[in-house]
């Protein structure tokens, strides 16, 4: 039982990071109908921002850690907006395939530029937050970094849901996602909404990058590829374009992975995780929470 609960904690802390990253994929897809492959590299840049900013603030302090996280989110938000402005906007209105391939190009560019700027060798990520391990009487352990993942992700998730559902910008985002021609007819500036979406998604990726790096403190320019792939799968699993769906998909994937890894079948982790994806997509083609829409002709 104690092992089960411990694995649950392990799985949730992994799943929450996937969830945070999956949100970025799902938001961009919801609005622009394409997969932003560069998202996982913004996640990497976020972690490196934490690495460099983390040198100038005192370590093991809550305030310093939060400040670093806020700065990394800001830098990545700007990066996301710049990527959209330079690489995706010129292609808007063209074929979706062109944008998709450009996204892969941007992803490669960020990875290789990262190798040039940050160096190819893994770097030790600083301990930004005060770290402690808590043990219950029964022997269940949780680290302060894992708790931080739960808290920060929950706060960001609810914040995002609030922005999307309650603010003017959120209403505009939903309108553009619903139908962008109609949205521009009623006076919504589509470009601004799209820039905002990229900024928001990239800021979440940066937060995810820092949380990931805090728990797995070895960062390199290729660190985003695998979590990015998993988060993309999580977004599809939950129903791409659907925000609560992405969060659910991320948590589910984290749990599946952890429970498989802790069993005798650990070498089949990815096979089982992706097998679950196939089964779910066969039963519910739009994902767990996605709505299946009939293509209008």
């Amino acid at each position: 039982m104690i092992v089960f609960l411990q694995q649950l904690i392990n799985g949730l802390s992994l799943g929450f990071v996937y969830a945070l990253l999956a949100l970025g994929y799902t938001m961009v897809y919801g609005i622009l109908r394409f997969i932003n492959f560069a998202h996982s590299d913004v996640f990497m840049v976020g972690a490196f921002c934490g690495y460099y900013f983390g040198r100038v603030v005192p370590q093991h302090s809550l305030g310093g850690g939060l400040l670093v996280m806020a700065m990394a989110m800001l830098v990545c938000a700007v990066l996301g907006i710049i990527i959209e402005r330079l690489a995706y906007r010129p292609l808007r209105g063209g074929s979706n395939l062109a944008v998709l391939i450009t996204a892969i190009g941007v992803s490669l560019f960020l990875e290789n530029a990262g190798q040039l700027v940050f160096g190819a060798d893994p770097k030790p990520f600083p301990a930004l937050f005060p770290s402690r391990n808590f043990t219950t009487e029964a022997g269940l352990r949780i680290s302060s970094n894992q708790l931080l993942v739960f808290i920060v992700t929950a706060v960001l998730l609810f914040g995002l849901q609030w922005i999307v559902m309650k603010t003017r910008m959120g209403t505009a985002m939903r309108a553009v996602s619903f139908n962008h021609q109609a949205a521009s007819l009623v006076g919504i500036n589509n470009d601004r909404v799209i820039s905002f979406t990229f900024g928001l998604g990239s800021a979440l990726a940066a937060a995810g990058g820092i949380l990931y790096a805090l728990n797995y403190p070895s960062i390199d320019p290729y660190m985003g590829i695998l979590p990015g792939l998993k988060a993309f799968v999580a977004a599809v699993l939950g129903g791409i374009g659907n925000i609560p769906g992405a969060a659910l998909g991320g948590i589910l994937l984290g749990l599946i992975e952890t429970f498989v890894n802790g069993s005798r079948f650990s070498t089949y982790t990815d096979a089982i995780a992706f097998g679950v994806l196939i089964v779910i997509l066969l039963c519910r083609p739009a994902g767990l929470l996605g709505k299946f829409q009939v293509e209008k002709v």
């Binding site: 092992v3 906007r89 450009t102 290789n112 290729y222 650990s266």
Partner: protein, 386 residues
């Protein structure tokens, strides 16, 4: 404006492609033309095992420079052509082909990781180019063919010594093993260790697997902790070992961790922090050894690279020195002749000990056990080959 942004995007793309193709190709002597002997080297200069590749390459380059400074080999200078395999599976085969067919190297040095040596070996064997692996320990490497040599101990030997160490020094009879299922090195070493450990009366209580590149080991470590072992054997590379050490520490798994020669890297301390303090690993060489040859090598290496050499650097150095020695003995840089000379190597005085090549083209070498203590690698004992 539209056109301009588009061209910027295109420019960014081109730059990224160029960055991706950036290979290091540094001849280590200025000589050119027909009066040089070209030696190929493939190494993991970037990527996951970059520390290993860099160290090994630095050691090799130092040897080539020293050889050239003392007049070269057979009246010619040696030219080292190094290619980076980015620690990626699948690259070394292409690189070996390129070095042999395009650059015309006469011998090949590399690699540290057994998986990547195994990939290049068939190419060298086919082209009758002798390959010396400085530090691949998996027995399969030299089984590829009679042109493939190694100058380090093999995993059956390492697994046996570690099993004795676990039972004798650590007094651990209930052992957990955490293997990297994606590298031949880790799978091989785990198997030889388990065989020797159970044959000597020990018990394996938990066995878990991961794949190189993984970062989350909490699930495996939780399962291992539940099995209540007395020690944990991790026969992997340092990249993952650092994180395994930290996560084991956070999960409250307090038993000693130990591993093989895949551990030795400064990252164990910079990334692992104090989580791995007190743990052990076995390797080929310790710069603390009191021996004039070792002291001279450590001094020269420090003067050139500003850091203390590790086992990979020492083996890289020895591999180039042995190759030069074999060329001198063969009186030629011809593949088959150098091969015969290499196969006949007896008591070659290397930094890492005397090298005698046996019928399987392996070397019997001593092992050292190192303990991580206070942010330093400390020599615990040296175990001579049987």
């Amino acid at each position: 404006m539209r056109i301009r942004t588009r061209s910027i995007a295109a420019g960014l793309l081109c730059a990224s492609l160029l960055a991706g193709c950036n290979k290091s190709n540094e001849p280590s002597s200025g000589a050119s033309g027909g009066d040089v002997i070209k030696v190929g080297e493939f190494a993991s200069l970037t990527g996951k095992e970059a520390d290993f590749g860099q160290s090994s390459h630095d050691g090799t380059a130092l040897a080539i420079d020293e050889l050239n400074a003392s007049g070269g080999v057979l009246g010619k200078k040696l030219q080292l052509l190094t290619e980076d395999d980015q620690s990626k599976q699948g690259e070394s085969k292409t690189i070996a082909r390129k070095l042999i067919s395009r650059d015309g190297v006469v011998a090949m040095l590399g690699e540290v990781a057994s998986g990547r040596s195994l990939e290049a070996a068939p190419v060298c064997q086919e082209s009758k180019i002798p390959q010396i692996s400085p530090s691949s320990t998996n027995p399969k490497v030299t089984e590829i063919g009679d042109y493939i040599f190694r100058i380090c101990f093999t995993d059956p030997q390492q697994g046996k010594v570690l099993a004795q160490f676990a039972l004798g020094t650590l007094k651990a009879h209930r052992m957990a093993v955490l293997t990297d299922a994606a590298t031949p090195y880790s799978v091989g070493l785990a198997t030889y260790f388990k065989d020797a450990f159970t044959a000597a009366g020990g018990q394996i209580v938990a066995e878990q697997k991961y794949s190189s590149g993984d970062k989350d080991f909490n699930a495996q470590l939780t399962a291992i902790k539940a099995a209540n072992p007395e020690a944990l054997f991790v026969p992997g590379y340092y990249t993952e070992v650092c994180l395994i050490g930290r996560q084991a520490h956070d999960l409250g798994l307090t038993v000693p961790l130990f591993g093989g020669d895949g551990w030795e890297s400064p990252q164990l301390i910079s990334i692992g922090g104090d989580a791995l303090d007190g743990d052990y690993f076995s390797t080929h060489f310790s710069p603390e050894e009191k021996n004039p040859a070792v002291e001279k090598f450590v001094h020269d290496f420090q003067a050139k690279f500003g850091m203390v050499p590790d086992a990979m650097a020492a083996l890289g150095y020895d591999s180039a020195m042995l190759l030069a020695d074999a060329m001198k003995r063969a009186g030629s840089s011809d593949g088959p002749k150098v091969r015969d000379a290499l196969a006949a190597t007896k008591d070659f005085p290397g930094i890492t000990g005397k090298i005698t090549i046996d019928a399987e083209r392996n070397a019997k070498k001593a092992l050292v056990i190192i303990q991580i203590k206070g942010g330093k690698f400390q020599l615990v004992q040296k175990i001579a080959p049987e």
